[in-house]
């Protein structure tokens, strides 16, 4: 009897100690993205932006709740959906409740499915999935679920903003659409065709083409077709070296009109374009870097570049992911009850450092924000990319882009 009381007392003591340790424990966020292989530069640059955002926006301000810090735990998924699921399982086994991922919608589909299943089967250790860059529209439409939140504008919203600008540019009469041959490239092309058709029926689409992703050595033949089609503008969703090589080839072979892109900045692309991309490359993105939105934005970028001299703030939405997650955890009063955190994130309004207000649309978990169309240039650049002197300067702004865009999402809420 005596012995068992002693044992019980010890257990209570151990439990309370354990609870104390848990209170001070960090809020861990799993970063699942490519950190090796051909897309490693995008992944590792994203990781430094996360680490900096967690430090500057949360930890330096005293953390969340009663002093819990954010900790980014990197997992290398080699941009493979299969590898991502393994890493997700490892992250869950380590007790991590928040997953961030962005590169490749293929990976995003695999993760969102796996997390949905996991959360249904394991109500005690559910996970939230914060998607910061995978922009396949399906993720917030047919394939949406309560656990997935998207912080970048989806491909349709971006195209909507882009075509708004093209609509007001009367000198564009012929458009050439070219993209990588997979779900995202096809989604961009389909959106471009339907939206241009609706907004500017007089525009002729002189080319609509897909090329193999990551396999084309020389884009010259494509560039020839674009030039000889007489196109006034090119639209492409290309990224990585496909973006750079296509753009360079098109410019070298005599194209002078605008090339509207989704991803032609940072990761060495801006530096490699240099002078040749000036007046040609346009970029649709969220978050305004040049001119800086505010002193706060300028200070943030300066501090980042002081810490990572070779890095770029080329995904400013990462500050929203971290900032909004911290706000939601504080509002929910718990970092472990992800249902409460998810509910707090839904319909949250938040002040983006690099933009105005942003709004997490509750019906599909798509963040609604201002979109910017910028030009690649060396004039009026406060913050360049790749230390090249060149950067993206905002030319047009679309307020709260896609606020009333339709969604087919029918979400089951826990």
């Amino acid at each position: 009897m005596h012995k068992s009381t002693k044992f019980g007392l010890g257990a209570v003591l151990a439990l309370s100690l354990g609870a104390g340790a848990a209170m001070a424990e960090n809020v861990k966020i799993a970063f699942i993205d490519p950190l090796s292989g051909p897309f490693a530069s995008t992944g590792s640059n994203g990781l430094s932006q996360y680490e900096f955002a967690a430090e500057a926006l949360v930890n330096a301000k005293g953390g969340v709740l009663d002093g819990q810090n954010f900790e980014i735990v990197p997992f290398d998924n080699k941009i493979s959906p299969k590898e991502s699921l393994i890493q997700l399982q490892v992250a869950i086994d380590q007790g991590i409740r928040y997953v961030v991922q962005g590169n490749s919608s293929g990976v995003a589909h695999a993760l969102t499915d796996a997390i949905e299943k996991h959360n249904r089967r394991n109500p005690d250790d559910r996970v939230l999935y914060l998607n910061y860059a995978a922009v396949d529209p399906a993720l917030t439409n047919d394939d949406c679920n309560f656990w997935h939140f998207r912080f970048d504008a989806n491909a349709d919203i971006k195209m909507d903003a882009l075509t708004d600008v093209i609509k007001d540019t009367p000198e564009i009469k012929k458009v050439y659409i070219i993209g990588q041959d997979y779900s995202f490239g096809k989604a961009v092309a389909a959106a471009a065709v339907s939206m241009l058709g609706a907004k500017r029926p007089d525009i002729e689409i002189v080319g609509n083409e897909l090329h193999p992703i990551g396999k084309v050595k020389d884009f010259t033949p494509y560039a020839r077709k674009i030039v000889s089609s007489g196109a006034d503008a090119v639209i492409t969703g290309n990224w990585g070296s496909d973006m750079l090589n296509l753009g360079k080839s098109v410019v070298e072979n005599g194209f002078t009109g605008p090339i509207y892109t989704y991803y032609a900045a940072g990761s060495g692309i801006t530096a490699a374009f240099g002078e040749s991309g000036k007046g040609v490359i346009r970029l649709i993105s969220q978050g305004q870097i040049n001119p800086p939105e505010s002193d706060e934005a300028a200070n943030y970028i300066n501090a980042f570049e002081a810490k990572y001299p070779d890095g770029n703030i080329d995904q400013p939405r990462i500050t929203n992911v971290i900032g909004m997650l911290a706000a939601a955890i504080n509002e929910a009063g718990s970092a472990t009850d992800v249902v409460a955190v998810g509910k707090a994130l839904e319909s949250m309004e938040y002040d983006d450092i690099f933009s105005g207000k942003v709004f997490m649309r509750p019906q599909d978990h798509q963040l609604i924000q201002d979109m910017y169309i910028g030009a690649h240039t060396d004039e009026g650049v406060t913050f360049d990319y790749d230390n090249s002197g060149y950067g993206i300067v905002v030319e047009h702004k679309v307020d709260m882009a896609g606020m009333d865009s339709p969604t087919t999402c029918k979400m089951k809420r826990p």
């Binding site: 051909p38 490693a40 530069s41 590792s44 041959d181 083409e209 897909l210 090329h211 193999p212 990551g214 396999k215 084309v216 050595k217 020389d218 010259t220 033949p221 494509y222 020839r224 077709k225 030039v227 000889s228 070296s241 750079l244 090589n245 360079k248 080839s249 070298e252 072979n253 005599g254 990761s267 060495g268 692309i269 530096a271 490699a272 240099g274 040749s276 070779d310 790749d386 090249s388």
Partner: protein, 318 residues
């Protein structure tokens, strides 16, 4: 018509670039009987070295110095790596070059990082040389053509008209006899390996600014170089040239013209199914030539191997 001329020139540029890579590889193969998997990595090294040198001394010094450094590196690899592995047979040699390719890629990433390098065309050549029906031919392309043709002629001259060339050719076929005649055959091998890798280096130097300099550039070109020398016939310089040009033109024309499988199939008498979305052959019907342009050389290789296993100009089985 004008566009055909433009595409011929574009294909020529692609083909000649491929030739500079495959010439070295095919020589090395006929010498050592082993495929050098790291060959395209030397091409990548050429581009990175030239970029680094061009930062300080300008593009032209890069063009001169970088291939020499690459060639010396190649010779050292042969002398202290391959030659030691050689005695254990072909498989260890293959594995050695394969490992070397991975190693070079990692080292490049370690030193220069994973980003694209801003290695660009020199100012002097950054203009439009001529324009055909609104299609600009950049001066740099003309420069690429002349450089590669000059290298081909020089190589051909050395191999067929000089004493050194004779010894090399003899050493390729009958190394023991040549050795018995008092020539230093291992030195010849080292020299050929060095020159072969230096050629790959030159290709890297002049291709870097147009095809962009990044850690994946070796992988992108790696497999197509092997296809070229198999089509041309292993060990044949002329074969490498013809196969390179053939591949250059095939891929360029396939990309430039939208030939649709639908037209070909209906042309030879097939009926297009009305309900396409449910059809088993849907993918076949919707193929266009730009989509499969980069696979065509592999198809050609399979055909060549079936019809003529020793390649177009080869003298022995692949």
């Amino acid at each position: 018509m004008d566009l055909i001329l433009v595409n011929l020139i574009d294909g020529l540029v692609t083909g000649l670039l491929l030739f500079m890579l495959s010439a070295g590889l095919t020589l090395i193969f006929s010498m050592m009987g082993v495929l050098n998997f790291a060959h395209a990595s030397f091409y990548m090294l050429g581009a990175y070295f030239a970029y680094q040198i061009s930062m300080v001394l300008g593009f032209w010094m890069g063009l001169l110095i970088a291939p020499v450094i690459v060639g010396v590196l190649g010779a050292l690899v042969e002398r202290y790596g391959l030659r030691r592995v050689h005695q254990y047979g072909h498989v260890p040699e293959l594995i050695f070059t394969f490992g070397l390719a991975l190693l070079i890629e990692e080292v490049v990433q370690f030193i220069w990082g994973k980003d694209q390098m801003p290695y660009s065309i020199p100012e002097v050549l950054n203009f439009t040389a001529l324009s055909i029906a609104g299609n600009a031919i950049p001066a740099y392309k003309v420069f690429m053509i002349f450089t590669s043709v000059a290298i081909f002629i020089a190589l051909l001259y050395v191999l067929t008209r000089t004493r050194v060339g004779m010894i090399i050719q003899a050493a390729l076929s009958y190394p023991r006899t040549v050795e018995a005649l008092g020539h230093n055959v291992p030195l010849v091998f080292m020299g050929v390996f060095g020159v072969g890798t230096a050629l790959a280096g030159v290709a890297g130097v002049i291709a870097g600014p147009v095809l962009s300099t990044f850690p994946g550039m070796a992988v992108v070109l790696g497999s197509i170089v092997f296809v070229t020398i198999v089509i041309g016939g292993l060990g044949s310089l002329w074969g490498a040239l013809v196969a390179s040009l053939l591949i250059g033109w095939i891929t360029t024309f396939a990309k430039a013209y939208n030939i649709r499988m639908e037209d070909i199939l209906t042309g030879i008498g097939f009926e297009k199914p009305l309900e396409m979305s449910e059809n088993v052959f849907r993918d076949l019907w919707t193929i266009t030539s730009p989509q499969i342009a980069d696979i065509l050389p592999y198809l050609l290789m399979v055909l060549i191997l079936v019809v003529r296993p020793y390649g177009l100009f080869g003298k022995r089985d692949a």
